[in-house]
C-alpha cells in the first residue's frame, strides 16, 4: 500500500481525538537541533469542520485487539488497516515541520498485539524523532492503558504532553461499552503522570523534563446515560487531583449500528458546547461544579451556562459596575476575564458609564440584565423568567451545529461510517 493511502487510513482513525493544542511547553531552541515550541501554541490551518490543525494527528497503526462498541477501529469492523514504521513517521514529521505545516506530532495507536507492544512502538518512534532527528518541536503522545507504568514513565521524558482517555464518565459505562478497558489501567498512569508533571514544574534544575505541557484526557458524551452534573464533577476532580491541563468532550455519533447498548441517535452538539462552557467556568471564572448544577441534572440547552447559573442565583444580582469586586464581575453573564480586569483598572480613573461599557465591548445584551451602572438599571426585565425568555431568544440563532446534526439524523443516504474513536 502506498504512503498516501496509509496516511489517509491512519488519519481517518485518529481524527476523533479532539485535542490538537500545541500549548503549554515553551521549550527553547538549540543550535544544531530543529525547532522549538510556543507556550501559547500555534494553529497552522483549519479544516472544514472549523477545527484547528496544529499537530500531525495520526495513528501508528489501526490494527486493534480491542472491540469497544463505540469505536471505528474496533476489531470486528471490516475496514482497511495500515501501519507506519517509526522511520516513515519521522520523515513525515520532519518534512512537514520544515515547511511550517505543523507545530509537531500527536501520536496515538490502536492496541496491536498487546498494550506493552503498542507502547513500545510509540516510544521507539518518538525516541527516534528526538534523538536521531534532533526534533525539538511539540510531541503529544498517547499512553496505552494496560502498558507497564515503567514504559509510560520512560515515554514521558520524550513528550511535551501525554494523555490517557478516560473514555466514559462513569465506571459503569466503561464496563458496559468498553469491557476490555479497566478503570485502574487508565487512572493509575494518570496519577503517575501528574506527579511527573508536578516535579518537572517545581524542580527547576531537574535533569530530565517530563511532559512540561502536562496531560489531558477525553471522554465521550451522550453514549451512556451519565448526567452533565456527573461529568462536571468528574472534570473538576481531574483538574484538582491530577493537575490536568484540559478535559475534552466529544459528542457521541453512532457508527456500529448493531449494538442495543448504544443510543441510535447522535448526541446534540449543543450539549458538548455547554459542557465546554462549564469547563471554562471551572478553570477561569472561579466556579465550582457544585455551584453550577446538582449531580443528577443536565445543563440547559437554550442558554449559556453562566446565564443559567446567574438566573438560578438571581439574589446576587444586579451588581454595580463601579464598585463590584473582580470576582463578582467575573460572574456577570457577558463579562469575560479580560473585561472584568479592564473594568477594575479603568474605573480608577473615573466612573464608568453605560456608554463606556459599550465602547469596551462588554456583551451588553446579556450583561444589561445583571448590572447597574451608577445605580441605574438598564435591562428590560427584572425577573428571571422573562430574562430567560429574552436570552433564549437571542441565543436561538439557526446554528450550524444544529443544522448539521439534523442532516445526519434525517439524511438516510448518508453512510454512518464515522464515529467516535476509542483508540486510546
Amino acid at each position: 500500500m502506498d504512503l498516501n493511502e496509509r496516511i489517509r487510513i491512519l488519519t481517518e482513525g485518529a481524527k476523533y481525538d479532539v485535542s490538537c493544542s500545541s500549548s503549554g511547553a515553551g521549550t527553547g531552541s538549540k543550535k544544531g537541533s530543529l525547532g522549538n515550541t510556543a507556550y501559547c501554541g500555534i494553529c497552522h490551518s483549519f479544516t472544514s469542520d472549523g477545527r484547528c490543525v496544529s499537530l500531525l494527528k495520526i495513528l501508528l497503526t489501526n490494527y486493534c485487539e480491542y472491540d469497544c462498541l463505540y469505536c471505528v477501529n474496533r476489531r470486528s469492523n471490516d475496514i482497511p488497516r495500515a501501519r507506519l514504521s517509526p522511520r516513515e513517521l519521522c520523515e513525515l514529521v520532519i518534512n512537514f515541520y520544515r515547511r511550517n505545516y505543523i507545530e509537531g506530532l500527536f501520536l496515538s495507536s490502536s492496541v496491536e498485539k498487546s498494550p506493552n507492544h503498542t507502547m513500545e512502538q510509540l516510544v521507539l518512534a518518538v525516541k527516534m524523532l528526538r534523538e536521531e532527528y534532533k526534533f525539538r518541536g511539540y510531541i503529544h503522545l498517547k499512553a496505552i492503558p494496560g502498558a507497564d507504568y515503567g514504559l509510560i514513565d520512560y515515554a514521558s521524558a520524550y513528550a511535551d504532553r501525554m494523555s490517557l482517555n478516560i473514555e466514559l464518565p462513569t465506571e459503569r459505562s466503561l464496563k458496559l461499552l468498553a469491557p476490555q478497558k479497566k478503570k485502574d489501567a487508565i487512572i493509575e498512569p494518570m496519577k503517575m503522570l501528574s506527579q511527573s508533571y508536578f516535579l518537572t514544574k517545581t524542580e527547576k534544575n531537574s535533569q530530565i523534563k517530563k511532559i512540561p505541557a502536562g496531560q489531558t484526557t477525553q471522554m465521550i458524551v451522550g453514549a451512556s446515560n451519565d448526567t452533565d452534573g456527573q461529568i462536571i464533577r468528574l472534570t473538576q476532580a481531574l483538574y484538582r487531583n491530577f493537575n490536568l491541563k484540559r478535559v475534552y468532550y466529544s459528542a457521541y455519533m453512532p457508527v456500529n449500528l448493531s449494538s442495543s447498548l448504544l443510543p441510535a441517535l447522535p448526541c446534540d452538539l449543543r450539549r458538548e458546547h455547554r459542557l465546554y462552557e462549564a469547563d471554562w467556568l471551572l478553570r477561569f471564572y472561579g466556579f465550582s461544579a457544585e455551584e453550577l448544577l446538582p449531580v443528577e441534572r443536565n445543563l440547559a440547552a437554550d442558554i449559556d451556562v453562566k446565564s443559567f447559573w446567574a438566573l438560578n442565583n438571581y439574589q446576587f444580582f444586579p451588581v454595580e459596575i463601579n464598585t463590584a469586586s473582580y470576582e463578582a464581575l467575573l460572574r456577570v453573564p457577558g463579562i469575560g476575564v479580560k473585561n472584568a480586569y479592564r473594568i477594575i483598572i479603568a474605573r480608577r480613573h473615573g466612573k464608568l458609564t453605560f456608554e463606556s461599557l459599550k465602547k469596551m465591548r462588554v456583551v451588553l445584551k446579556r450583561a444589561q440584565h445583571f448590572i447597574t451602572v451608577n445605580g441605574k438599571f438598564y435591562g428590560a426585565y427584572n425577573n428571571p423568567v422573562n430574562i430567560r425568555k429574552a436570552l433564549a431568544a437571542q441565543q436561538e440563532r439557526p446554528r450550524l451545529e444544529t443544522a448539521c446534526l439534523q442532516t445526519s439524523l434525517f439524511d438516510a443516504e448518508r453512510p454512518l461510517t464515522d464515529i467516535i474513536t476509542g483508540e486510546l
Binding site: 504512503l3 498516501n4 496516511i7 489517509r8 488519519t11 481517518e12 485518529a14 481524527k15 476523533y16 527553547g28 531552541s29 543550535k31 544544531g32 537541533s33 530543529l34 525547532g35 522549538n36 510556543a38 501559547c40 500555534i42 494553529c43 497552522h44 490551518s45 483549519f46 479544516t47 472544514s48 469542520d49 472549523g50 477545527r51 484547528c52 490543525v53 496544529s54 500531525l56 494527528k57 495520526i58 513525515l92 518534512n95 512537514f96 520544515r98 515547511r99 511550517n100 505545516y101 507545530e103 455519533m253 447522535p266 452538539l269 479592564r342 473594568i343 483598572i345 479603568a346 480608577r348 480613573h349 464608568l352 461599557l357 465602547k359 469596551m360 450550524l400 451545529e401 448539521c404 464515522d418
Partner: protein
C-alpha cells in the same frame, strides 16, 4: 488644516511628532499618504531626522516605559490608512497624562490605538502558523505571503529561532519585501521585480501528502465552513497550499 507629510517609516513619523511639539505646534494631522492632503489643507513635507526621532523615542520611554514604546512601534506596522493620526492622538494623550493613559480602557483614542495594535499582533501570530515554505532545488526554503500589516520584521525572529539550521526566504508579495536567513544572519531588502524558484523533487511529494492529511482529518458530520472562514479567512488562503 495644517498637515505634516512624512515618509512611511517609524523614524519619519517620530520626526514629525517632534515637529508637532516644537516648530509646528498648530499641526493637526500627520500622514504618510500625500494624496490625502486636499486643496484646502496646508501640507508641509517633513524630512526624516533620526536624531530627532531618537529624542521622541527616549521621551516616550521616559514618560511611559519600554513596553509602551514597543507597543507603539508594533502598532506603526499597521496597514491602517490612518495609522499616523491614530498614533499621534495616542501620543498626545501619553505625553499629557503619562502612564495613566496606558490604562484608560474606555477612552476612544486608547481603544483605537489598542485595536490597531491587536490587529498587527494577531496577524503576526496567525502568520506564524499560516506561512508555507517550499523546499527549492538548492535546499533553501522559500515562502511567499501577503499580510494586511507590514509584519515581516515581527516574523523573522520566530522563524530564525525555530529553523536555526535551515536557510530560508520570507517574501511579502504585497509590499515587495524580502528577508533571507543564511543559517547564521538574516537580511531584509526590497524584492527583485522578477523572482523565480525551482522546487526540489521532494517538495511536490510532501505538499501532496500534506493535502492528503488535511483533507482527511476533518470530520464530515461536523461540517462547519463558517467557523472555518472565521479562523482561516479567505484572504490568506492563496498562499496556504492546502486550500
Amino acid at each position: 488644516m495644517k498637515i505634516l507629510v512624512v515618509e512611511n517609516n517609524l523614524a519619519a513619523f517620530l520626526t514629525a511628532v517632534y515637529h508637532a511639539y516644537y516648530g509646528h505646534k498648530d499641526a493637526e494631522k500627520i500622514t504618510s499618504d500625500a494624496e490625502s492632503v486636499t486643496m484646502l489643507d496646508y501640507g508641509i513635507r517633513i524630512e526624516t531626522d533620526t536624531a530627532l526621532a531618537a529624542k521622541v523615542r527616549e521621551g516616550i520611554m521616559k514618560k511611559a516605559g519600554k513596553t509602551a514604546y514597543k507597543e507603539i512601534a508594533d502598532a506603526y506596522l499597521s496597514g491602517d490608512k490612518n495609522k499616523e493620526q491614530k498614533l499621534f492622538d495616542y501620543l498626545k494623550l501619553l505625553f499629557a497624562q503619562g502612564k495613566k493613559a496606558l490604562t484608560l480602557f474606555s477612552h476612544s483614542t486608547v481603544i483605537a490605538f489598542r485595536d490597531m495594535l491587536n490587529k498587527v499582533r494577531r496577524e503576526a501570530h496567525r502568520m506564524k502558523g499560516f506561512i508555507r515554505f517550499a523546499q527549492t532545488e538548492n535546499g533553501v526554503y522559500y515562502a511567499f505571503f501577503g499580510p494586511d500589516n507590514d509584519i515581516l520584521e515581527l516574523l523573522l525572529p520566530h522563524f530564525r529561532i525555530r529553523f536555526n539550521d535551515q536557510k530560508f526566504v520570507l517574501h511579502d508579495l504585497k509590499r515587495k519585501k524580502m528577508a533571507y536567513y543564511d543559517g547564521d544572519k538574516s537580511y531584509t531588502f526590497t524584492a527583485p521585480p522578477r523572482f523565480t524558484v525551482a522546487l526540489s523533487e521532494d517538495q511536490l511529494k510532501f505538499a501532496e501528502l500534506w493535502r492528503e492529511y488535511f483533507n482527511n482529518v476533518s470530520i464530515e458530520e461536523r461540517h462547519n465552513p463558517v467557523l472555518q472562514r472565521h479562523y482561516a479567512p479567505k484572504k490568506y488562503r492563496w498562499f496556504m497550499n492546502e486550500f
